[in-house]
């Protein structure tokens, strides 16, 4: 039986890696991939805590999170495609039209 804090530690590390990826990467698609890492870390936390509390609610929330992540990935990638068509580059530094 693996103690719960092992899973929570792993989840925290994955979340930090995902956050670092969102800040560090200069490529829109890799930023979206890092967001997916963060969502997975959260899923792991939900399932782990749900199991240790003995309910099935953790897995149900994970089900919804996966669905929302799929929807968000689809729309995000469609946005990336239309942005690429506009500017021919995928670096976030090129899209500065809203800066002051």
């Amino acid at each position: 039986m693996v103690p719960l804090n092992y899973f929570l530690v792993l989840s925290a590390v994955l979340f930090a890696i995902g956050t670092a990826g969102v800040f560090l990467r200069r490529n829109l698609i890799t930023v979206l991939l890092s967001v997916e890492i963060m969502l997975n870390a959260v899923n792991l936390t939900f399932v782990a805590v749900g199991r240790y509390l003995g309910t099935v609610d953790g897995q149900i929330i994970v089900f919804f999170v996966m669905t929302v992540a799929a929807a968000e990935a689809a729309v995000g990638l469609a946005l990336v495609i239309s942005l690429f068509r506009h500017r021919e580059t995928l670096s976030p530094d090129a899209f500065t039209a809203l800066k002051w």
Binding site: P3, R25, I29, Y52, V56, A71, L77, D93
Partner: protein
């Protein structure tokens, strides 16, 4: 036995995620993320959640990542150049390094928060049996039926939105 499996899958997940964040080639990043998802599915199996594990593979590794792969191939995403140092103002390498430091700090804070919870909280949980798909289905369609229906509308909306956004311009 479980603990060994946990260490193996955890190591794969962390190594693959570091690879996703560190790799310059976006195709390799996507493949590394797929292996990270596979490791997470293994962790779900250790947590007695086989349905979640299989759903993770089907939805994340099987559908969302295929979508990412198609977009990477469609846009012919080149290898990423290192961050340009010539942009004035906020976006310079110093700011990016600061962001990396911030995320490490956040990770350290999370670890501290997790490790300082009293041990009694963990031992109080009862080990549930293998949650059957029947239980999940029951809860999903009775207690959480409203969220389920709203999610289906959400997927429909995002599907229509994605198709409209990615259309070629009709000029």
């Amino acid at each position: 036995m479980d603990v060994i499996a946990f260490y193996v899958f955890g190591a794969i997940a962390i190594a693959a995620s570091l690879g996703v964040v560190g790799q310059r080639n976006p195709m390799h990043s996507v493949m590394l993320l797929i292996s990270s998802f596979g490791a997470l599915a293994g962790l779900y199996v250790i947590l007695d959640a086989p349905f979640t594990a299989v759903t993770q593979i089907i939805i994340y590794a099987g559908a969302i990542m295929v979508l990412f792969l198609f977009v990477v191939m469609l846009l012919n995403v080149p290898r990423e150049e290192p961050a340009p140092a010539s942009l004035a103002g906020m976006l310079g390498p110093r700011a990016i390094k600061a962001a990396a430091v911030l995320s490490v700090v956040m990770g350290a804070e999370l670890l501290y928060a997790v490790l300082s919870i009293a041990q009694s909280f963990f031992s109080a949980g009862h080990a549930g049996s293998v949650s059957s798909v029947a239980n999940i289905g029951q809860a999903l369609f009775t207690k959480h039926a409203f969220a389920f229906e709203v999610t289906s509308i959400l997927i429909l909306v995002s599907m229509v939105g994605a198709v409209v956004l990615a259309q070629k311009e009709h000029r």
